[in-house]
Symmetry: C2
Subunit: 358 residues, 2 copies
């Protein structure tokens, strides 16, 4: 009989690139950025339902967002919402999920997924995950999903594959590399040997825990103590004690750059990491002038502009290539070419302690 398939959805991020819609109290994964009105995390859960039952979906987040997860994902059991007491990057987060799954099922197939990416072709995505599960089920393979680059992006990690070593449809991974500079990214693109690291992983719970034990033994020991306390009166106290002692470490750096038996599947399912407001221009339906308009908006002689209106009437006249986002207490007017500078606004707000806008 096939192993139970579970999923850990990572939803602890506090992105600032969708300010002023995204706030500390409402990060990107809880926003709706698509025309269907569903939030990113809702779409993430919906997408994997053909493979994973709601009671086998775990959400890793933190206490501040627990209420949002409950509200947006009522189908996920409350005990599956894992609140990290403090952010320690992805390795402890994934380990925490694995301990819960081990406690419940002994072993299980584990999908690890970001909560804030979009995928256009859900059927292809499910097929890819099924292939990944097949590869992860053989021995002690760690499987990752790579995205075929179409530009020398410097904002992603890259994964080099070995085109002559395969396991089923997957390639053996030669190495993980962190975000490159532009020159190196161009080399990677030209080499046709590198894929983008999508942050999606598939493995058995037992496999990832073994690798944690091998490469991050201190973290593993703490995770085991947390696992032992799950369901006991001490659970929360042990979680807080152990977690605060963990070294912050990404799964990429902590394990994937060192481990053996890593395989990569190419994901050709219309992936978008929705990295900035510019993505909304790609994702949402635009009108004949290239404008993407939501809300109470009048446009005159306006082109290629994203307008996310709020309650008030927004009149936009004679502009092009702008991002205009209205919210209850803050409004952004930004040139598309300066979307990367929105973080400067957030920095300024932090420096000036204007926390009401963060």
């Amino acid at each position: 009989m096939a192993m139970k398939t579970t999923a850990l959805i990572m939803a602890g991020g506090r992105g600032e690139r969708f300010w002023p819609k995204s706030r500390r109290s409402l990060p990107k994964q809880f926003l709706s950025l698509t025309d269907d009105g569903k939030t990113m995390i809702q779409l993430t859960v919906e997408r994997i339902l053909p493979l994973v039952a709601p009671e086998d979906i775990y959400i890793a987040t933190n206490r501040d967002y627990k209420a949002l997860v409950r509200e947006q994902l009522p189908e996920v059991p409350e005990e599956n919402i894992l609140c990290e007491p403090v952010g320690k990057n992805t390795a402890p987060c994934i380990g925490l999920g694995a301990e819960h799954m081990k406690k419940k099922y002994g072993d299980a197939m584990m999908l690890v997924l970001p909560s804030d990416h979009l995928i256009k072709y859900n059927t292809i995505f499910i097929n890819t995950l099924e292939d990944a599960i097949d590869v992860a089920a053989e021995g002690k393979n760690l499987v990752t999903i790579g995205i075929t680059p179409d530009a020398p992006e410097t904002g992603y990690g890259y994964i080099r594959l070995k085109s002559n070593e395969r396991c089923r449809r997957a390639f053996k991974v030669d190495r993980f590399v962190e975000k490159p500079d532009l020159e190196r990214a161009k080399e990677y693109l030209a080499s046709e040997e590198y894929l983008w690291n999508s942050g999606m992983f598939v493995w058995k719970v037992s496999t990832v825990l073994e690798n944690l034990q091998k490469y991050l033994p201190d973290t593993f020991a703490g995770l085991e103590r947390i696992g032992a306390a799950v369901g006991t009166a001490n659970e929360q106290a042990v979680l807080e004690k152990e977690f605060s002692a963990f070294k912050a470490e990404s799964i990429d750096y902590g394990i994937m750059e060192k481990a053996k038996n890593i395989y990569i599947l190419t994901g050709a399912f219309g992936w978008d990491d929705v990295g900035s407001w510019l993505a909304v221009g790609r994702i949402k339906k635009s009108n004949e002038f290239g404008n993407v308009i939501d809300g109470n908006v009048i446009t005159v002689d306006t082109k290629n502009t994203i307008v996310q209106g709020g309650k008030k009437l927004l009149a936009v006249v004679g502009v092009k290539d702008l991002i205009i986002v209205d919210t209850e207490d803050a409004l952004l007017v930004c040139d598309k070419h300066s979307a990367g500078s929105i973080k400067k606004v957030v920095e300024n707000l932090q420096i000036c302690n204007r926390t009401e806008y963060l």
Copy 2:
């Protein structure tokens, strides 16, 4: 003894070029567009106080704005607020003022001034008005103030002077011409014989009434009946009856293009008709990046932009040459080169019966 000096300030306009700040319920003359926080009409009154006592200042407006006038100009007696029952352009408006002044003083010197222009050099302005009063006091002269053009503007009327005919510092007027096309405006500019029509006039009450009698006899007859009823129980009824029967006519077309003895004084007092949001960029203090900023605003990499913030935080990133105006219920984002298209927004709102935004 010198004649009493009175002023009629015309404040019935319903401009739409300052939308969304200006509304039907709050036109430009009642807005503050300068750094001192005073409204246009308040500045207009303050400016002439060296020449005219508050009780001799009359405000021509309509019923909708009477409360605003009372609120913004508490020093002007209530009986001096003349509410036109219906707009009939400037000739009936000026005639109405003249009748009130005649009733009170028999004859008086009358300054006629728009309520929504700015003047930078008040002392020079007062000197110019004093010169105009001297010219108007001689015989039956009609005196106008002309602005020396610095560009071939097509938005103003022009006045041709006769450089060889003078009365004191004033030139005799050859003719009034309505707003020209660009080619003609260029000719006017090159000729050095044309000044812009500022809409400011100085004359005796008796002189303007005589000219009304001569060139607009029907209107004059009605005005006389209104004048006779001032202070009686019938005043309002007569005003409404007569006014509604008047032909709408501008003072320029109705009298100035036909009358004799018209003189013009050049006004070199830093005049600005504040015709659009662009004017705010000229009038208000700009920072080192050429931005004119009011309110709760953060700018990043932004140049030559006018931001009129409201209550909410306005973050402006990577833009230039924009006009951004926030109000309680509407927000404008407009390229400076498209300021003339703001009226299209207002038109659209009218067509769609979205009167709450007008």
